[in-house]
Point group: C2
Chain length 228, copies 2
């Protein structure tokens, strides 16, 4: 699948509510996933849903998730049962002239599928590299890569981006006509959007780092970059 | 339950992995929930988990969720089957000296339970007020409250904060001794934390607002406030 292949929703991944907010562009799915740091993985344990924050990385149309081999959630996620993985960005609080029309601006990607445990050693390294680079660009090459014992302690799962949906809200509030002021009249109620942004702060060096250690470009430049 | 009542985990809500990161203080649960804008609601549809971003509000030890009466996810969430609701804050990217020890600083609250559809008119208003005030403090009093038709179109669910867990990671990387430099030696690998923060931007007035309309304190002061 290249980025031009439209998302092909199944019944499960079809956006029903607010269908005008659905996006069907695969590049937009990639963009929403790439802009996130953490997703929320949903699994079923017993008859109960469990939703846990989970790091991830993307390689083409495969999403990689990882966790400890000891984690019950990882075992359940890799058992062949369906999972759901959702990445959400809140972009703004939408202030309306009525409580009912208050809303949020957001970008959200929801992926459904069965997660495949990755056992091939080369794909395991590729997946862990994607995860590390997603969390901390430049870190894979700059730091010690996993040894045999660390690899043995890590469950890596692959989730195809075949069945996915993207939903986006942008723009001002959608107030009822009855709540708008007459032309030329003052508006008794402020309405608009308060933008919400995720930003990086000043890097905090590890206390075990010798005092003169410079912050490398991979961290320094990221700290200065605007975030989605 | 007051804020001093410790969280009483069941098997489902006991933090197993990284148990040293578990918090058992109810006030900490409230703080993590109160600092968020959006949570992720997990339900089971058919045999598949579905995870959707969801606004919420808190009143004491009750969490209120709402959605359209037409939404399949709201119908499923209010059907008496178990749900899971998770709120996560990413506080920092943890850069380590090995790929394996890269991590995130975060605060996460996970609530398990059965969501109760709220039908009592007074509690419905109370819940919707909590939701509105959580999203947009001051908006409930400043804007038009829901009318009968809007109320009829809204499903309101209540989720008790009885079965919940909180997990928090803070601080520098937990590197292996073998990856640390000898005393006095330079460190070949930068390690530390890149803080991640959620901030508000400059308010964007609705285009339908008369040009001279002032931004009220409830929005202006929030735009200037630091966020968790």
């Amino acid at each position: 699948m290249d980025a031009a292949t439209p998302l092909s929703p199944t019944a499960r991944s079809t956006v029903r509510r607010g269908a005008h907010r659905a996006r069907t562009d695969r590049a937009e799915l990639h963009a929403v996933l790439d802009a996130g740091l953490v997703g929320h993985l949903g699994i079923v344990l017993g008859d109960s849903p469990v939703v846990l924050p989970t790091g991830y990385g993307r390689h083409g149309d495969t999403l990689y998730l990882h966790g400890s081999t000891g984690a019950a959630s990882m075992r359940a996620a890799g058992s062949g049962a369906p999972v759901c993985f959702t990445v959400t960005h809140v972009d703004g609080v939408v202030y309306a002239r009525s409580a009912f029309h208050h809303s949020m601006n957001y970008r959200c990607a929801v992926v459904h599928g069965v997660a495949r445990p990755v056992t091939d050693p080369a794909e395991r390294l590729l997946g862990l590299q994607a995860l590390t680079e997603h969390l901390a660009p430049g870190s894979w090459a700059a730091t010690r890569q996993p040894d045999r014992k660390e690899l043995a302690a890590t469950t890596l799962l692959a989730l195809d981006l075949t069945e996915a949906s993207v939903k986006v809200r942008t723009g001002p509030p959608g107030d009822d006509d009855r709540d708008l002021p007459e032309a030329g009249a003052a508006d008794p109620v402020w309405a608009g959007v308060l933008p919400v942004r995720t930003v990086f702060g000043e890097p905090e060096p590890c206390p075990l780092l010798p005092p003169a250690t410079a912050t490398p470009p991979r961290v320094r430049e990221r700290a200065l970059s605007p975030r989605g």
